[in-house]
């Protein structure tokens, strides 16, 4: 078991998300930076889909009630057991009674804490992910608070610390043209791909709101709502794009100018409000290649973890 001593700014339990219930309007949710969670889980010997904690800035302190192996990936935090400093991206042992404190981030935006055996909250509709907008899943459907006590899965046998190099962040985000791309003015299409977009303070787990030049349609569109997904870039009449993220709505009626490819969606989780990003136009083939390359990264990673364990 672990106990939350300091909750940080919006810390939630997340796994790889909840599928199969979008027809009831239930968002997929899950870790915003899926690759960081998968990496963290791999390092501590958990299955990819085990639940960990997603941290979004601030100071987070946790007391452990059993010996455990843990790792922190994603955004770069200062990590300490008591007063002993620990490397980011490495797995380390913590003893029952010790306190883990995390402060950050120095770079990036969201960090993932995986503990051997995983965070053991009840499955809700097939997942342990928290969907705070609907107050479901995770630990009581909400972000963690001081005093929360959370169960862990069974301890795994791990003998030594190892670490992994994380893929580098860039502010270039690859995207496919969306179904309504052609209905934006030529100028707006050019602006969309060529300009720098700034991440707004209003961004959260539902959507990354961007600010920049206003995007205009050639004429007003009244679309019938259909399904949207994490990565869909909607443009409401304000002309300022919103990239839907894991907690985003399941259906929407605003025109979709583009879709962020799955292999780059994690970058939006690691962009800070105020930082800039640019969209890079890719073809479906390039998206497929990027995905393949992504899978290869995890494959190589898993092999070297197995070889070093």
């Amino acid at each position: 078991m672990i106990e939350v001593l300091t909750p940080g700014f919006h810390t939630t339990v997340q796994d790889l998300g909840r599928t199969g219930y979008r027809h009831l309007g239930v968002s997929v949710s899950g870790a915003l930076d899926r690759q960081a969670l998968i990496l963290a889980n791999s390092l501590v010997g958990n299955p990819d889909n085990a639940a960990g904690l997603e941290l979004t800035a601030g100071t987070f302190e946790l007391k452990f009630y059993r010996d455990a192996w843990f790792t922190l990936t994603g955004a770069n935090y200062e990590i300490k057991i008591g007063s002993r400093e620990i490397w980011h991206g490495w797995r380390n042992n913590i003893k029952a009674g010790e306190t883990l404190s995390l402060r950050g981030p120095k770079s990036g935006m969201r960090a993932y804490l995986a503990i051997d055996g995983g965070i053991d909250v009840p499955l809700y509709l097939g997942s342990r992910s928290t969907l705070t907008a609907a107050e479901l899943g995770g630990h009581q459907g909400r972000a963690l608070k001081v005093g929360d006590r959370i169960s862990l899965g069974n301890k795994l046998s791990i003998s030594k610390p190892i670490g992994a190099v994380q893929r580098g962040y860039s502010n270039e985000i690859r995207a496919l043209p969306g179904p309504e791309m052609a209905q934006f003015t030529q100028q707006s299409r050019k602006v969309f791909w060529s300009s720098q977009w700034q991440l707004s303070n209003d961004s959260n787990r539902m959507g990354a709101r961007l600010t920049g030049e206003v995007l205009d349609l050639t004429q007003e569109l009244n679309l019938n709502s259909h399904a949207v997904m994490p990565g869909s870039i909607q443009v409401p009449p304000s002309g300022q794009p919103i990239v839907l993220l894991a907690d985003g709505q399941t259906t929407g009626g605003y025109p979709k100018i583009a879709t962020v490819i799955e292999a780059d969606l994690w970058k939006l989780a690691q962009t800070r409000p105020g930082e800039q990003l640019q969209f890079i136009h890719v073809s479906p083939n390039q998206a497929e290649d990027a995905n393949y390359e992504w899978q290869q990264y995890f494959y190589r990673l898993q092999r070297s973890i197995d070889a070093n364990s």
């Binding site: 309007g25 239930v26 019938n224």
Partner: protein, 239 residues
């Protein structure tokens, strides 16, 4: 001519396919098209090829487990469409008490003005129809309702609100619906209800149906003077 009666098929991102029947709504009623979509959705469900199958407003989105299956299913879905089979869902009728206007319906006057009606006329028109639940989306349990009177069609807000209270009843374009939980949203708010549309207390029970409404159900709004009136009646809503 017959070419025009085919739905449009397009990819959404890397792993989703949309069957869009918007261009067909002149030839069939919206509800008839939706019944065909429900049927196709059932046929797809049986295959196990999909992560999610999401009916929308006269459209259907298929989320594939493996994108290699997209060409096969594009063809298949087109064939299903030509069979013109429909699902006739035996839906239930659910009455939803709403307090219109005031702090609960901040856009009631704007909707009235836009449509050159009085607020009272908007309420009368909104409560006189019976609405079909076309699909659930946007938020857990959020029903998209068919049957809004043309006299109430009102565009969405230019800038969506960041937080809309749970239970808000709104109009977005040609649609009307109820927000089950607090969320951002761009619809014009005309009132509020205290009905619980999605019971997230059904924790840990994977077989429970957490949603009050299902596609094919019928909804009727009832105007009430004060939300307090329904606090007692709330527990009697059938589930």
């Amino acid at each position: 001519m017959s070419k025009d009666l085919r739905p449009k098929l397009f990819k959404l991102g890397e792993k989703a396919l949309v069957l869009d029947c918007a261009s067909l709504s002149g030839s069939n009623s919206k509800l008839e098209i939706q019944r065909q979509i429900w049927h196709i959705s059932d046929l797809c469900k049986a295959s196990g090829d999909f992560e999610d199958i999401v009916p929308g407003n006269n459209n259907l989105t298929l989320f594939f487990k493996d994108s290699k299956k997209i060409p096969f299913w594009s063809n298949q879905v087109n064939q299903f469409w030509t069979h013109k089979l429909v699902q006739l869902k035996p839906g239930k009728l659910i009455q939803i008490p709403v307090q219109y206007g005031g702090e609960y319906g901040p856009d009631l006057n704007a909707v009235a003005q836009y449509n050159k009606l009085t607020p009272q006329e908007v309420i009368e028109i909104h409560t006189s129809a019976q609405y079909s639940v076309l699909f659930l989306g946007f938020q857990p349990g959020f029903p998209y309702l068919h049957g809004l009177d043309k006299r109430l069609f009102t565009p969405r807000l230019a800038t969506p609100r960041l937080a809309i209270p749970a239970g808000s009843v709104g109009i977005g374009g040609e649609q009307t619906g109820i927000y089950p939980a607090q969320s951002p949203g761009g619809w014009q708010l005309i009132g509020r209800s205290s009905v619980n549309l999605f019971d997230s207390t059904l924790f840990g029970n994977d077989r429970a149906q957490p949603s009050l409404l299902s596609p094919g159900d019928t909804v009727q709004f009832i105007a009430i003077e004060s939300l307090g009136e329904v606090e007692e009646a709330k527990s009697e809503v059938p589930r």
